[in-house]
Symmetry: C2
Subunit: 546 residues, 2 copies
């Protein structure tokens, strides 16, 4: 991989109109962000110390607008949360010499863990084989903090924490968020989550009431629908194209919203997965996002931006026979290749962005983070204090040791480039198989630009049993036939935002994330045989040597 | 520590009246429970495999009654949860040779973790110093499962999981629960939680409606109150004595419940911390639990048994000058010394027991488990699937490697005995300090039998400014004076179950869990000076050499 070069972040203009150097505009070399870190108060590294994002930001945001207030959509439940009352006592802990018999936290003397080590890849040597060969073992001791060996250790991480998570990891994700998104308003904050599924559940409890409808893509993440339904909240699906949500359709639906026929007040929330959407794989372009954001401003819609696949944006697809596009030559080029987030254009503070380590490090970390205005992050933290608490300290320590202490921001960007190139290969493999085997007269698709999913449209009108059988019946018949031939793909109808709505499309979702390339090829071949049988279409390439 | 001897579990009588040998009645030696484990289907160890407690139980429960159904108290929200619809596809995964492009789970190829190691104590050498000297490093590899080196590894644990958690760790906690509690009905099940704070939040969403009141101790865990209030649920505090909840008072309150004056329907839930209750330190005796259970049966109350401190039951308190009671001579003696749980006497399946590793391993594990009837556990799992998911895989792997693969059940019981003896020393230290310094004419207390808390009653009537100043004002004055003298203890009023109720008691809570013995002594001394000043009481021992 090419050595990283300068990140070309634009200079910042302060409130007096004078251009000041941007603190993030220098090259990011491995760990050298440390040298420019804001001086940190040591007291924030200790057990269950409160942490505030604002201490971790590098740029000045004084010249940017303040976030709007969202009191008019915040639920009674969220407004009633006062936070942990015992934290009233915390303000006295700073008194010199004070001995506390206050908080009921166990002594680390009783944690049966003396050391924790992980073997991880060196920067630039990221593959499994390279890691086995040249990986480095990094170790956290029990009392590294007290012994001045590190700012995070077992005795701290394995004890109780605050709803926001540890200051150590919160600082890292705040800096990362600033580096990647450079939010457009003043009072943005981050807090750790235990993953975006939980974050969505908590967001809905903060921002929606039973009986509400929420705007979303017409095909959407089924777990999001299943999180919402028990809360009495339904999804109102908006038509999509290859770039996802259609802003005009959204504007039209909101402008003509009829409370009687819809059975719900006019929506005030948009749930969207803008990049590599699940299940469609659609990625909203920059201009599409601007148009959607404008519709949200027009109708005062608050946006939940669920972005697990943001760093699964891939190299441009060049087709089976054209040469690959060269990888990003620098961190700056890499960051500039990413489609801008809603967070980056959010002048109103109307976006709650959900990030996650699940797709870029490991789902079992159960660590994500939420970025939104101070008002909403404060509510989220209070909620976490009395429900999920913070991510497991075991996980926080492991992720922090790797990302902050070992790789640094620079090494992590290199890792993300590695992921990008690897997913590009996988995506190219599934597209090559589709081009080789699938009958074009029945199946059509767009090359996904991001994410884990390939979304294949079936022309159900060509099915011999259409229209005697319904779309769902034809879908089921194909689905079972594919299984009969030894492959499993997901039925599009499982992703309906609103199962009550009439649908006149038929899709299947296939992931290229899990199986190795050989298996992907074989599975798509089996899928093609099943589809050809179902539609009585002959032909298709034979698998070589299988 | 004495070598463990046989666990003397009573023989089991089957439905025909014939006595059959109890599979858990043999001695538990290190790991030898493995030899008697039920044969496990290998397919349950793989990524996101579903697990069912029923496969992990040793005893037969056929002769025991079935749990009652709780449909009449289950919320609409909980009844509406259908579980993850994509799991519909899981049933096809068993088909031989099937290639799945179904689930959107990342390949472990992209987890930058090759090995995870922890240095942990050998059984019987549990102190921090011993662990540093003689601790053992145990290691999980990335592909140990595929390579037949272990049944759990990084590639499995660090991927997505089911709401119930991994089968590996679920088996361990199920066996542990059976060993310790031997539940009294047929269809009990366990599921992992991400900690009991979250479990309570989820239980309340399953079992209570806005406007409800819940029975609890009159002084209770403040975070429980703070979890309930935003859900529109208030606590109805029941008077307590040194053994906690008073069954007659509870019966009286329920028997005379007036919907109009209370502003809530008659309660159907009891939230209780039966052992080492927070904040009072009270432990309900066996007979007290039987009496409370009978009241719950009479009024059809469902019980949430929150038991983080169950294994912080200590040796009997013998006073400052008497010799210590000898430690348990065997695992059997240890288990028999524990006060029986509600779960162990629950013939109706009306108990949801919340267990946690927070106080006996580390809070940062963020792992607990829930035991209840199948009906409630199924609901809990479905809820977890669309909110908290499962505990972090990092944590599950670490805890499983230690408890199951290294210590085994036997070694873990030894660890719990170690914790018991260590907390006994700490408890004795705070009581010795109290006896040495505190003015008996103003402060009174009961030696705690379990938990982390010492609860000191102040005779506010003796305060020079009583009755001109209210109880809360006197409490605040003492609190601030104690801080002035350099110690921090918690105000009893912060633990009111219902802050609206009138209270005529004044308490302070001090924990002996966190500070070292020397500091505890000094803090209680400072507390005593403050109290003596506030009450104009002279005397009290002088600290030696400080």
């Amino acid at each position: 991989m090419a050595p990283p070069s300068a990140i070309d972040v634009e200079a910042v203009t302060d409130t007096t109109g004078v251009t000041i150097p941007d603190p993030l505009s220098a090259p990011i070399k491995s760990n050298d962000i440390f040298g420019r870190r804001r001086k940190a108060d040591k007291s924030q590294w200790v057990i269950a110390a409160p942490a505030d994002t604002v201490n971790f930001r590098h740029r000045s945001y004084d010249h940017k607008p303040k976030a709007k207030r969202w009191d008019h959509i915040i639920t009674h439940e969220a407004q009633t949360r006062k936070g942990n009352s015992l934290k009233k006592a915390a303000k006295y802990l700073g008194k010199p010499g004070l001995i506390t018999l206050g908080g009921g936290i166990p002594s680390s003397e009783f944690f049966p863990f003396e050391e924790l080590s992980i073997k991880v890849p060196r920067v630039g040597h990221f593959s499994e084989a390279e890691t086995r060969e040249s990986g480095v073992v990094i170790t956290a001791g029990k009392h590294d903090l007290a012994e001045d060996k590190s700012i995070f250790d077992i005795s701290t991480a394995f004890n109780y924490g605050q709803g926001a998570g540890s200051a150590q990891l919160l600082r890292y994700v705040t800096e990362h968020t600033e580096l990647v998104h450079n939010p457009a308003y003043q009072d943005w904050r981050c807090t750790l989550s235990i993953g975006s599924t939980s974050a969505l559940d908590m967001a809905l409890r903060m921002l929606s009431r039973p009986g509400d409808m929420i705007i979303s893509e017409e095909y959407t993440f089924s777990a999001a629908v299943e999180t919402a339904i028990p809360l009495g909240v339904r999804m109102a699906g908006i038509p999509m194209d290859a770039q996802g949500l259609l802003p005009d359709a959204m504007d039209q639906i909101l402008s003509t919203w009829d409370v009687q026929t819809k059975g719900a007040r006019k929506p005030h929330l948009l749930y969207t997965v803008p990049t590599g959407q699940n299940p469609t794989g659609a990625t909203q372009s920059h201009s599409r996002r601007r148009a959607i954001y404008a519709v949200c401003q027009k109708h005062d819609i608050y946006i939940i931006e669920d972005e697990p696949y943001y760093f699964l944006q891939m190299q441009p697809y060049t087709g089976p026979n054209a040469p690959d596009v060269p990888p990003p030559a620098s961190h700056a080029e890499f960051l500039q290749s990413l489609v801008p987030s809603y967070l980056s254009m959010d002048v109103d503070g109307r976006v709650m962005r959900l990030d996650s380590f699940s797709k870029v490090l490991a789902p079992g970390s159960r660590i994500g983070w939420v970025t939104a205005s101070q008002q909403l992050i404060e509510m989220y933290k209070k909620h976490a204090d009395v429900s999920t608490q913070c991510p497991a300290g075991t996980s926080q320590l492991i992720v922090w040791k790797l990302l902050d202490e070992f790789w640094g921001h620079s090494g992590y960007l290199d890792w993300l480039i590695h992921i990008r190139l690897s997913y590009t290969q996988r995506r190219d493999a599934i597209l090559a198989a589709c081009e080789r085997y699938l009958p074009r007269e029945v199946v059509s698709w767009q090359p996904p630009m991001a994410g884990m999913f390939h979304w294949m449209k079936i022309d159900f009108r060509k099915h011999p049993q259409y229209p005697e059988r319904s779309i769902e019946e034809i879908e089921e018949s194909i689905f079972l036939s594919v299984i009969e031939h030894g492959a499993l793909v997901m039925r599009g109808s499982w992703f309906y935002a609103d199962a009550q709505d009439a649908h006149d499309t038929l899709f299947f979702r296939a992931t290229y994330a899990a199986a190795p390339k050989e298996k992907i090829d074989e599975a798509i071949h089996r899928f093609s045989v099943a589809v050809r049988e179902e539609f009585s279409v002959n032909g298709g390439a034979v698998r070589n040597g299988h």
